[in-house]
Amino acid sequence: MKTLILGLGNPILSDDGVGNRIAQELEGKLSQRQGVTVQETSMSGLSLIDLLAGYDKAIIVDAIQTAEGKPGEIYRLSPDAFNNTRHASSPHDVNFATALELGNRLGMALPKQIVVYAIEAADTSTFSEKCTPEVAKAIPICVKMIIKELNGNHLTKVADGSKRLSDS
């Protein structure tokens, strides 16, 4: 089974780069692991499906900002959680859910299972190569969660996208 761990974000925009940081940590820990590829990207929309093609499973790691979220909280989501952004959300590119559905309709070899680890961000607009303290604290926790996920031992069901998670 081929698994892709994809860290998304802009590494010079504070917490926006948390996905990149987590991918970097995981790359060091998983370099010897067969069948696992760790990658970082700043791409979005249609470009993402090019990256996902050819893998059986994908774990996507990205920053998120929700209405009542607390910085550093980690959510484990399925792509279904993004369905409500499907229609005409961005004036600039299609969103993740649309891109995935397009890829599936076109018969692309997209992963059968996609899990999104989203970390609540505090600041995504200040130029910095470091995350804010609360988000930085979440990095090792999320790294552990993803390694557990790879070992088939994640903390909740994928479908339980709305539930906030914290590692004990």
Partner: protein, 423 residues
């Protein structure tokens, strides 16, 4: 790419021919990716599905269902080709790292050149298909043609864009040409002179500035020759130029102006057609560059030797003229930056286009519907604006509100979508 050129200017260094050709090839690939995405994902839903069609279907998925899955595959394939070429030349397609002061960080191999050449040939064919699709779906439909040329989506403004020494459209290098609303050249300036021609107005209600032509002046949100408001965009580039530098794009350029009544064209929705003409130019130019053996020359950088100080770089980004202006200390550390991006140039015009569409569409006795909201949004979408793409926000939908008043300014109705508290 503007930052590459600005840093060349800061370090007083001129890249060697292969360095410039690689940058231009990268940039053509960038255009191909960007214009394909905008046309198929953002513009086509309004025309293929219809501007007032069910919003659940008015997206790229609806377009693909209607025009065929095979076309969807071609869209994805050619976008990916363009992304691959960018990544191969400059390390990454998004946030590329290959451009450095004086040129590029690495050359390409003969094997890569051949690969790019085949991909560029395929992109030329895909551009032909895309223009044919536009002709079949949009131009052959009288209602759509009337919509494009109608008053509600028309705005008479100045236009700005970069041209080469023959006044042909050039994305990477040249001089910036400005024409008035009648199409007459009013100025051509070098990048370093931009502050002599562009100034920025401010309004207390917006943190984005409103650029205008300094010598005409800011006369408020008004159209015409007396107002310094100008537009940049694919259509602006076609309006300021005397033609395209490649044969198939030139033929499409001529067809556009012949169909829409001659130069300049003021129809905001024609930005989409101009985008496809440019898709053809980008594909043809990429092919030319990939067939030029000099592009594999290993000398891709001139090492800077002068003390850095200040420089301006201007390119035509897919959405319009992009200006980067840097000042550094003697160690090359940046001390001042000024950027004017395409969306900023177009910001005054966007307000006017939205207002005109809303005023033209909302009439006494007309039912105000979601379709109407979309038709107002179409005036905004044509600019392909780079306002903050809220990529990490749920729900990531476009907030929009229209308030309808009667002649006594009494609120009659308020229609909104995707507003959150505080909007």
């Amino acid at each position: 790419m503007a930052s590459c050129k600005a840093t060349d200017a800061v370090f007083h260094v001129d890249p060697p021919p292969a360095g410039k050709k690689l940058r231009e090839a990268f940039y053509c690939a960038h255009y191909i990716h960007s214009h394909i995405a905008h046309f198929y994902a953002l513009a086509a839903p309004d025309f293929v599905m219809g501007p007032t069609s069910d919003p659940a279907q008015r997206n790229i998925l609806g377009v693909i269902s209607k025009v065929g899955l095979q076309i969807g595959g071609e869209v994805i394939k050619h976008r990916a080709y363009a992304q691959n070429i960018q990544a191969a030349i400059a390390g990454k397609a998004t946030h590329p790292v290959g451009g450095i002061p004086g040129g590029m960080s690495k050359p390409i191999t003969e094997e890569q050149r051949k690969d790019f050449e085949e991909k560029a040939k395929s992109c030329v064919e895909f551009s032909k298909f895309s223009l044919k699709l536009f002709g079949d779906v949009v131009l052959a439909n009288k209602d759509y043609l009337n919509l494009i040329t109608g008053n509600i989506y028309t705005m008479k403004s100045y236009y700005m864009g970069m041209v080469d020494s023959n006044n042909k459209v050039n994305f990477y290098d040249g001089t910036v040409r400005v024409v008035d609303p009648e199409g007459k050249e009013v100025v051509k300036f070098k990048p370093s002179e931009y502050l002599d021609y562009v100034a920025e107005h401010t309004e207390p209600w917006s943190y984005l500035k409103f650029p205008f032509l300094k010598k005409v002046g800011w006369k408020g949100f008004t159209e015409g020759k007396d107002s310094g408001i100008y537009r940049v965009s694919p259509l602006a580039r076609l309006n300021v130029a005397d033609g395209m530098a490649t044969p198939l794009a030139q033929a499409e350029y001529e067809k556009l102006f012949k169909t829409l009544g001659g130069k300049p064209v003021h129809a905001t929705l024609a930005f989409h057609w101009a985008r496809l003409v440019e898709l053809m130019y980008a594909s043809e130019r990429l092919l030319e560059l990939c067939q030029d053996k000099e592009i594999t020359d290993p000398k891709v950088r001139t090492i800077p030797t002068a003390t850095p100080d200040e420089g301006v770089g201007i390119v035509e980004a897919p959405r319009g003229t992009l200006i980067h202006h840097y000042q550094t200390d003697k160690n090359g550390m940046v001390i001042k930056v000024n950027l004017i991006v395409a969306t900023a140039h177009n910001y005054p015009a966007m307000h006017m286009s939205i207002k005109k569409a809303a005023q033209g569409l909302i009439k006494k006795g007309t039912a105000v519907s979601e379709g109407l909201l979309n038709m107002v949004e179409m005036a905004f979408r044509a600019y392909d604006p780079c306002m903050a793409c809220a990529t990490h926000t749920l729900p990531g939908q476009m907030p929009l509100e229209i308030v309808i008043y009667d002649s006594n300014k009494e609120e009659l109705r308020r229609i909104s979508q995707n507003l959150t508290e505080g909007d």
